[in-house]
């Protein structure tokens, strides 16, 4: 059926939402997936123990009642009572233990097992208490527990079948999984018995529309109700449409130019500084229609660990200075380099810009676009010289960014920079292991300054998240990580 | 013989307007065919024989071809001014036509029966069953064994001779007054050729029709024709009774032709031949078209086109006969 038909219906008719997404979900189990399309669905079906407040960014209990930290290696978590999974089984400490152990089991091969990596033992002293013992202090435990991939699944549903394909009744969330036509759409329907009160929307369809121009057209005609992650070139159009409400919100993603520290001359700080000096970020940001924000730091303004003092760090656009630094570094007449990136629209657009900018200081950049899978492999194996990347932060915590990208233990995996610095490693570990939140934030602040000064990346811009919603659809709040919840949504 | 005139062609000119200029394929041809008469048209390849025949049928592809002038009277009716629909009623019913190559002249995708029945259904107000019977009858008439089976055959299932018989049957089912046969035996073997020529003769007598037969084989003409036209490069060079032409050829070209054919009875080592080949004729061509191959040419032949001259009962287009008159 057409969205346009349904949108004309009066309020007595069932309320339906069509949400368009560029890609299809990979799966429906939080344990086995790690992509934003899946996560959008998973958030409607499952819930985590803790959640991040969309406004303040503070971590609040969701399925949990509260927690205690008797010592840095012990987390005692109290659970809310009287919550039932959609399949009727009770939500309790067993379910939490089951879920977490499943994630930790290597045979499960959960892509986000590392979130619980430091967990040593899980105990369930009673029905509504879970105790997590860690090997080393794990300061970001709460942030991790707020991560969608640590949503709690119903053990019964999980044992009964593959909840990755059919998640019926597997969560505690406000919507129940209904149908998945792979490649086409996923439907979830209202959970009348939701512990937080039944949602007003009767069903949500997650529709796959790979072509952005088409997706935008669908929102315009009312065939679809909402769309997030609108690229700048389509923004104006949607904003001008009287039937569509566009929300723009500073996000916590960052788009950057990265270097391979194992390749010369990128191990040279002066060279990196020169490059940062040579790139006119403001100019590029001006093309983004407001969909990017200048911040000099690696940890952006919306992340835990950000402090505005960072704006006095970084290196300003100054071609002469860049040339001078390059000469100092021993490259007075520049050098040749390749810039590798996955050939998505975003990077396809940035790459020529970087190329043009670096030309000015005689760095001759060859563009090396690759398909996404090849790029991942290439970058991981340390073949890239310079690369373009983006980091979208789910938990909103600076640690989630620093550890994978710059911790030496992750070389060969997510540390594309192949940055290996014991000093930095120590600092990164502190940002993970410190239990005292204030202290931890302080470490993050220090790390941000250090890494920014050392130009581990050139942060090109920090993202702005967008959402376009048909005006009659209300109650959806966008979060700075680009996510949103349908709990309070309703149609007028 | 009945001297009632069936077809009268007068000064027919059919030109082709091609990329390479105007080709006067038929350039002033006049003749008559009486009831029961057989007219043979001979000439070299490209001399305009087929175009003459197709002009009578009004089947000249346009573009590039066009009948530029002349008149074609069939049973005292002018064909050239007839509407397309009227012309269609004449084709196939009053005038039947068969083509040179029986291999390509039948539609390969329909059974021979269908193709004959189609001709019947267009011109005669009969139902399918009746038409089928008539078609079988026609096939039997042209000597095809077990026609009730053969009627369901496709052309490729028949030999060349049989296909030509089918063509004849198709041309004759509606008992036309005139049969135009465009090189009906050229593609066939001598023994089969003999069969087909006999068949045409038989049919002609049986149906009392006139025949216009086109060929480049003088033997065929000698065998079947009452009168003959010799064409050369779009022009009628000689026109007269067949017997006269063979015993006393008038035009140097005709003579040349007759001399160049080896006959069984002839002796001697060398054949006489006509040197050279057909000229490339354009509209502003001056003089006799045969002049540069002619053994009896004079200067006049190159500048002035000879008119058609009546010599005895025949017509000839050669300056040689002007003085004699």
């Amino acid at each position: 059926g057409c969205g346009s038909e349904t949108s004309k219906n009066s309020s007595s008719a069932p309320q339906k939402i069509t949400y368009v997404s560029m890609t299809d979900a990979v799966g429906l189990s939080p344990i086995l997936t790690n992509d934003s399309a899946s996560s959008a669905v998973i958030r409607t079906v499952y819930e985590t123990l803790f959640m991040r407040d969309p406004k303040t960014g503070e971590i609040k209990p969701l399925l949990a009642e509260g927690y205690e930290n008797p010592d840095p290696n012990t987390w005692i978590i109290k659970l809310k009572k009287n919550i039932k999974f959609q399949d009727g089984t009770p939500f309790n400490s067993e379910a939490v233990k089951y879920t977490f152990e499943k994630i930790l089991d290597p045979k499960t091969a959960s892509p986000r097992a590392s979130l619980l990596k430091s967990v040593d033992k899980i105990e369930t002293p009673d029905e509504y208490t879970v105790v997590l013992h860690t090997k080393t202090p794990y300061g970001i435990m709460l942030t991790a527990l707020a991560h969608d991939n640590l949503s709690i699944v119903s053990p019964k549903a999980d044992k009964a079948g593959d909840i990755n394909k059919n998640a019926k009744g597997a969560g505690t969330g406000p919507y129940i999984f209904e149908e998945w036509v792979p490649g086409d759409h996923i439907t979830v329907v209202k959970n009348k018995d939701y512990w937080g009160g039944a949602p007003k929307i009767d069903s949500i369809t997650f529709k796959v529309v790979p072509e952005m121009a088409t997706a935008v057209s669908m929102v315009e005609t009312g065939e679809a109700d909402m769309l997030v992650g609108i690229p700048p070139e389509h923004l104006e159009r949607l904003k001008n449409n009287a039937d569509v409400e566009v929300t723009q919100l500073q996000g916590n993603s960052v788009t950057y130019l990265g270097f391979n520290f194992e390749k010369k001359p990128f191990d040279n700080l002066k060279v990196r500084q020169a490059i940062e000096h040579a790139i006119n970020r403001d100019e590029y940001i001006s093309t983004l229609n407001g969909l990017g924000i200048r911040s000099n730091g690696i940890i952006g303004p919306k992340l835990i660990g950000y402090n505005s003092e960072i704006e006095s760090h970084g290196y300003k656009y100054d071609v002469e200075k860049a040339k001078a630094l390059l000469a100092e570094a021993g490259y007075p007449s520049g050098f040749k380099a390749t810039l590798t990136y996955g050939n998505t629209d975003t990077y396809n657009k940035i790459a020529p810009f970087i190329q043009a900018q670096l030309k000015k200081i005689n760095i001759d950049v060859t563009l090396n676009p690759m398909d996404w899978a090849a790029y991942l492999s290439y970058a991981k194996s340390g073949k890239a010289e310079m690369y373009l990347g983006g980091w979208s932060n789910v938990t909103g915590d600076g640690e989630e960014l620093l550890y994978p990208q710059f911790f030496s233990g992750n070389i060969g995996a997510s540390n594309y920079a192949r940055y290996n610095n014991p000093e930095a490693d120590a600092l990164i570990l502190k940002t993970r292991e410190t239990i005292d939140q204030n202290q931890r934030v302080e470490y993050l602040r220090q790390a941000n300054i250090k890494f920014t000064d050392d130009v581990l990346w050139v942060p090109l811009y920090h993202g702005v998240v967008t959402m376009a919603v048909r005006k009659n659809l209300k109650g959806i709040e966008l979060e700075s990580n680009g996510e949103f919840r349908f709990n309070k949504a309703y149609k007028e | 013989m009945n001297r009632e005139i069936l077809l009268e062609v007068n000064d027919l000119k059919t030109y082709f307007y091609t990329v390479d200029g105007v080709v006067p394929a038929v350039d002033g041809v006049s003749f008559t065919i009486s009831k029961g008469e057989t007219l043979g048209i001979v000439g070299e390849s490209g001399s305009g024989k087929s175009v003459t025949a197709r002009s009578i049928m009004r089947l000249i592809p346009n573009p590039p071809g066009k009948i530029v002038s002349g008149s074609i009277k069939f049973k005292d009716e002018e064909l050239l001014t007839k509407k397309d629909s009227e012309m269609r009623m004449i084709r196939g019913s009053k005038i039947g036509m068969i083509f040179q190559d029986p291999m390509t002249s039948l539609n390969p995708l329909f059974t021979v029966g269908d193709q004959i029945i189609e001709a019947l259904c267009i011109h005669q107000n009969i139902d399918k069953k009746e038409a089928k019977e008539k078609a079988i009858e026609a096939l039997r008439m042209v000597g095809i064994p077990s026609p009730e089976k053969r009627i369901n055959n496709y052309p490729h299932q028949m030999s060349g001779g049989m296909r030509q018989r089918v063509m004849i049957a198709m041309a004759l089912v509606c008992s036309p007054d005139l049969l135009i046969a465009d090189e009906p035996t050229t593609a066939l073997d001598v023994t089969i050729q003999a069969q087909i020529l006999d068949l045409i003769k038989d049919m002609k007598n049986m149906l009392n029709m006139s025949v216009m037969i086109i060929t480049h084989d003088l033997g065929v003409v000698a065998d079947i024709a009452d009168s003959v036209i010799v064409m050369y490069a779009g022009k009628m060079m000689e026109y007269g009774r067949a017997f006269d032409m063979f015993s006393n050829p008038l035009h140097p070209y005709t003579k040349g032709l007759l001399d160049s054919i080896p006959t069984l009875s002839m002796e001697g080592d060398r054949l006489k031949s006509i040197e050279g080949s057909l000229p490339n004729v354009t509209l502003d061509y001056k003089g006799c078209r045969f002049a540069d191959r002619c053994s009896e040419r004079c200067e006049k032949c190159f500048v002035e086109e000879p008119p058609l001259i009546k010599v005895n009962d025949s017509y000839v287009r050669c300056h040689k006969y002007l003085n004699r008159r």
């Binding site: 499960t108 072509e211 899978a373 290439y378 | 539609n107």
Partner: protein, 313 residues
Amino acid sequence: MVKYIFKRLIQLIPVLIGVSIAVFLMIYLIPGNAAEIIAGPTATKEEIQNITVKLGLDKPAYIQYLKYMSGVLKGDLGYSFQTGQAVSKAIAVRYVNTLSLAIFSALISIILGVTTGIIAAAKRNSWFDRLCMGISTFGISAPSFWIGLLLIVVFGVKLKLLPISGFNGKIWTADGFIHLLMPAITLGFGSSAMISRMTRSSLLEIIHQDYIQTARAKGVKEKIVILKHALKNALIPIITIVGINFGGLLGGAVVVESVFAINGIGRLMVQAISARDFPMIQGSVLMVAFTFVIINLIVDILYAAIDPRIQYN
């Protein structure tokens, strides 16, 4: 005839094996693997390793292939690396959509192409002929994503006449029909242009054949000469091009499927290869190749049905 079809189906086996080996080599050669994709850019080494083991990607390449092929011989196309779904099931859904799209657009293109081709040939050098040929050249020349987007902007957004996406896989329902209209036109436009030109040129060629003269000499109406005698003979090249295009429609539908958000096999293939989802790539490529061969078979059978001279051998 049954024997012939059987024989052709057997001939299909080496082609399919060849295709599957080609796919295998391809996967083997291209950098990146499914585990890395599933793990995502954040993944640690252990996470990647776990997934690699789970998918069996740690085994030597030829073993992976043989294991896969032995499954195929048992009728099991395997499970998607990425989603864990049964490949056969995943393909089935998409295949129906693509096939509906392909058939619908083939119909559109045949009807459009053949009629305009006939008229253009019959009225050669008339304004209609020129117009048809002009439009058809345009049709051949324009990239399909471009036509598709223009159609969306004009008919979907501006005029709000047709829905942009949402084909339900049921072409026989009114809803399915309406949703498939724009995609089918987009896809069919180019091939209708080709068919139109092919019809025109083969008709023009056939019109010069002797048997057409024979038909005319019988007094057959020009309309019937063309529609019956000439067209039937022209059908062979027309069917050939329809067949070729249909094969192309299946493989080339990716673009239209993306533009109109149709959940088809073309898109599936592209997705699968970007995810290095080996079983899914094998399955969908084999399916497309299979269809291609079947289309060829159908085309050959049609040849023989039309032309009595062609025998099954």
